[in-house]
Symmetry: C2
Subunit: 567 residues, 2 copies
């Protein structure tokens, strides 16, 4: 059997290696336009930081072999042709027209099965100036090498990153933390990690980045990238000019599906991805496709989307190999699980964030925010945030996000939720999860349990939450109907009580004896450090017939981590 694979980064080489192990008699040729193949693209930000000192580290196996065509031939038994482009697929004759980029020579490769793993290309927004010297994307090793060269040569004094997604945030850390450069981050949306995390969590990240010296402009409307003598000098937005001698565009990618489209394969006009079934077959059953160039099913919404991630590309490559070898494997879809390190934070999530859930038709979507010490409180470290998205009417779990100190517990909770999300769990299922416990790792009830409890209590009408945004607005407006009940200890509350006349201390211990002192004609906003005590006092208030009471979501911990002057 002859197999041709177009693309030799993640999905393509994975397919070839696995297929050769399953069917050593298969003849496989892998081609790639680039001379760099089979590299760990997700590691590029760490080449910039210096965690990865040599670019070849991103091309090595765990046992230190460099993944060159020679390696693949000698160890794995298949051929890799680099600097070779596939220009046409002739499905009738079952052959691929190729072009040797160095000589211009063309040739044909015949196939019984073909695999398209052509990856993605960074979106270049249509700003004037995107082609100036000093404007980069970070989509392959050439980019990484060029940026690192400038950094090492001391030519970068004020870098600027456009786009606050995964790569944007990782590279901001490289510039700001490892190179100690004053870095600017511009983002079109009013938050970082748009459509990935809720805005409450975004504000924590933005505040932390600002504390670290990053200049962040959200809602940035870029007019042009400004140059002088062909070199970038800065970025002009609707409301200002940001000087920069290096600009990184991290504004997403689009699937490389032109070749497939030209061959008459089904390509989605909506996502731009090649359409494949669960077996990763295109509309031509002899042609498979995988990696960044295909569209996949979102397992929460059921809709098709692109999800360019190295981990999915590897899994899809394995599925393709199994199926070509005559087995039966499937890739059912994605739950959009992600994890990233940004400065001292671990940020992760899966499923839908609140905004996306609503946009996808889950009109009753709500969030339940749990804040706690990562481990048992006597092993205290900084606060971690766990944000659960659920359907208020049905109790279905829709998504989850977490921010915590690197490297502790964020991965653990994202792993747990992303593992069960395909089973369409309900809040009750999360409450029933068994999650291992010991004080150096967590608390007796895991943060997942606590977030689910908040959701359940909300669904059963046992508590009502209000956002700090509304409370702060009314506090600022000196709203006469507003009364903040700070149920912390007098010591914890004294500063705020002194500052605002409608901020009173109503200590948690003993609160239940004093409920009747409280007015029924005011909006009582219950505040404590993270919400535990406020919830308890809410229950006493309700029992006494107080209907105008709310727990302020996230307590003082959240609003403080937003950088607000609340103590």
């Amino acid at each position: 059997m002859k197999v041709v694979i177009i693309g030799a980064v993640a999905c393509g080489t994975k397919t070839a290696c696995r297929l050769k192990r399953l069917r050593p008699d298969t003849e496989i040729v892998v081609i790639d336009k680039d001379e760099y193949i089979s590299y760990g693209g997700c590691g590029m930000p760490y080449y910039l930081t210096g965690d990865v000192s040599d670019i070849d580290e991103l091309r090595r196996t765990g046992f230190e072999a460099l993944r060159t065509p020679k390696f693949f031939y000698e160890a794995k038994g298949f051929e890799v042709l680099t600097r070779v482009e596939a220009t046409e697929i002739d499905r009738k004759k079952k052959r691929v027209k190729i072009k040797y980029l160095d000589t211009g020579k063309t040739d044909y490769l015949e196939y019984d099965k073909l695999v398209i793993a052509t990856g993605s290309t960074p979106k270049k927004p249509p700003f004037p100036g995107v082609d100036l010297d000093g404007v980069f994307t970070l989509s392959n090793l050439h980019d990484a090498i060029k940026i690192k060269e400038r950094l090492v040569a001391g030519k970068v004094k004020n870098p600027l990153v456009i786009g606050a997604g995964f790569i944007g945030l990782e590279v901001v850390e490289s510039f700001g933390e490892s190179w100690e450069l004053p870095v600017t981050l511009l983002e079109y949306f009013p938050q970082v990690l748009p459509r990935l995390i809720d805005k409450e969590l975004s504000r924590i990240i933005v505040n932390r980045l600002r504390e670290k010296g990053v200049q962040i402009k959200l809602n940035a409307r870029i007019k042009e990238i400004v140059g002088e003598n062909g070199k970038v000098k800065g970025v002009r937005t609707e409301d200002g000019f940001y000087p920069a001698d290096l600009v990184l565009l991290a504004t997403g990618v689009r699937p490389n599906s032109e070749l497939a489209k030209k061959a008459g394969l089904l390509v989605s006009p909506f996502t731009g991805g090649i359409v494949v079934n669960e077996r990763m077959q295109t509309s031509d059953p002899d042609i498979y496709a995988g990696g960044d160039c295909v569209e996949v099913t979102h397992l929460v919404t059921g809709k098709r989307m692109v999800m360019p991630q190295g981990s999915l590309a590897n899994r899809q490559g394995r599925v393709i190999a199994t199926n070509i070898a005559g087995g039966h494997a499937r890739f059912k879809g994605t739950v959009g699980a992600f994890i990233l390190k940004c400065y001292d934070m671990a940020i992760g999530g899966c499923g839908l964030c609140l905004e996306t859930a609503k946009a996808e038709g889950f009109t009753h979507a709500r969030n339940a925010l749990n804040i706690q010490h990562e481990r048992a409180h006597f092993f205290s470290i900084r606060c971690s945030y766990y944000n659960l998205i659920y359907d208020f009417k049905t109790g279905r779990v829709l998504g989850f996000q977490s921010i915590g100190p690197f490297t502790d517990g964020t991965l653990a909770r994202v792993h747990a939720i992303s593992s069960i999300l395909p089973y369409k769990p309900h809040i009750e299922d999360l409450i029933e999860l068994e999650l291992a416990y010991s004080p150096p790792f967590n608390s007796a009830l895991d943060p997942i349990h606590n977030a689910a409890h908040i959701a359940e209590n909300t669904m059963y009408g046992r508590v009502k939450f209000i956002s700090w945004d509304e409370v702060l607005q009314r506090l600022k407006n000196k709203d006469p109907e507003l009364l903040i009940l700070d149920v912390r200890t007098p010591e914890e509350a004294k500063e705020m009580v002194k500052r605002y006349e409608n901020w009173i201390n109503f200590p948690y211990e003993g609160a239940r004896f004093r409920i009747k002192e409280l007015p029924k004609d005011k909006d009582l906003m219950l505040v404590c450090s993270v919400g535990t005590r406020a919830y308890e006092v809410y229950r006493w208030l309700e029992a006494e017939g107080y209907t105008r009471a709310w727990v302020v979501e996230g307590g003082v911990a959240l609003v403080r981590d937003w950088g607000e002057d609340i103590k």
Copy 2:
């Protein structure tokens, strides 16, 4: 409604707090024999280490309130009577006879609903000398305080721990690491964490503890604890004497179910636990029970067992409260998830280990061991071990264990597997899991995927494994049929090739061209660092008709972490 709760540690107080929040009008009385209540028992080893400096830290809430009867009365609204014992349950009159331990006075408490949360008692093995001064268990704060006092006073020079379960291993670390004492650990079984982890993993832990200076005796048959003038002097086993001035018995616990039994409630003669349904009701529907004193269903075997864990007790308390309040909550059972820190290791697992799986009737149970760098290899840290237990015939996942460096990825993988274990997943389901990836956290394919791939490849007959035990035995016996093919690089292999004449180097790169050089009349044992390269060469061998080939499970990494002199 009047509710009486017997026991005020984890389940009892959780029940009371939640019930009071759901139904503030409930009259609740909680009684406990001890004066210390509502403490974090799992934190006691960390009081010994000094991570927890003050015993009261184990009794504090996250917001620094001390959980005393006064606190529960003022903040939570229920009464706690300490130093009060329940001596009898009169189910007809629906009342509990109580005894005030300080005065001897007796009284009755009437109930509409009763909750039994009487916990467990450490098993004291019937050795002569278990009551000597200096022999301790660690089951409540009194024990912890007494042991710490001796440590602080410098009265402990050579502590000895009997039992290598959770508490045993945690306390060994306290003595050995925090107090820098020469500590001895005696274990009846031939491994540590018996019936929790496989022996391959146990050997890694044993070796690591020995490197840390712990004296470990497995298969220990204790004859007596030896004393002098009423004070412990050491422990005598069948084959030796171990001097000790402090002996900690960590040999498990038994449920405190006598009171329930006396009241005619159903108590299992097999487990000793109180029998409850999913709603945590005993055989008397007005009496609930939870925590260490009940038996629960194991969700993999379907059998009833005791599982004394603080996290389960808390979850059960919540279930009981919801049900008493008129809701409907259930505790379906346990998957036996655990996690612990021991020196610089994180050790965790869930479900069944191989031995237990076989004992429980899964006669085709096998294990698939994956070893890898915790994170992407260019973020290399020490090796982590992931051991998956599965049914070779059906592919059903039965259990999982992991050892890795504290605190990285062990919790994440245990959380993921324990979350889906109730769904009765198959190997294929693990392969299809979506697990978030980024280089500072893991590799593109998660260790869970890789372990599942090994299991799948084994099930499909694509690889055969052999244990180091057998290989080392045959190597020692100079078995003429044995040939070890070290497929590492010449540099990696040279030391072993020099040492053994039937250990030859057959480098992975280029191996496929040289297959025919190999004899077909020998048992070819393929060795590399963790197994990746050996598997690939195995596939070439099979394609060439070699039937006498095996991959040595775990490679050099495993056997080296056992402390064997293999390089």
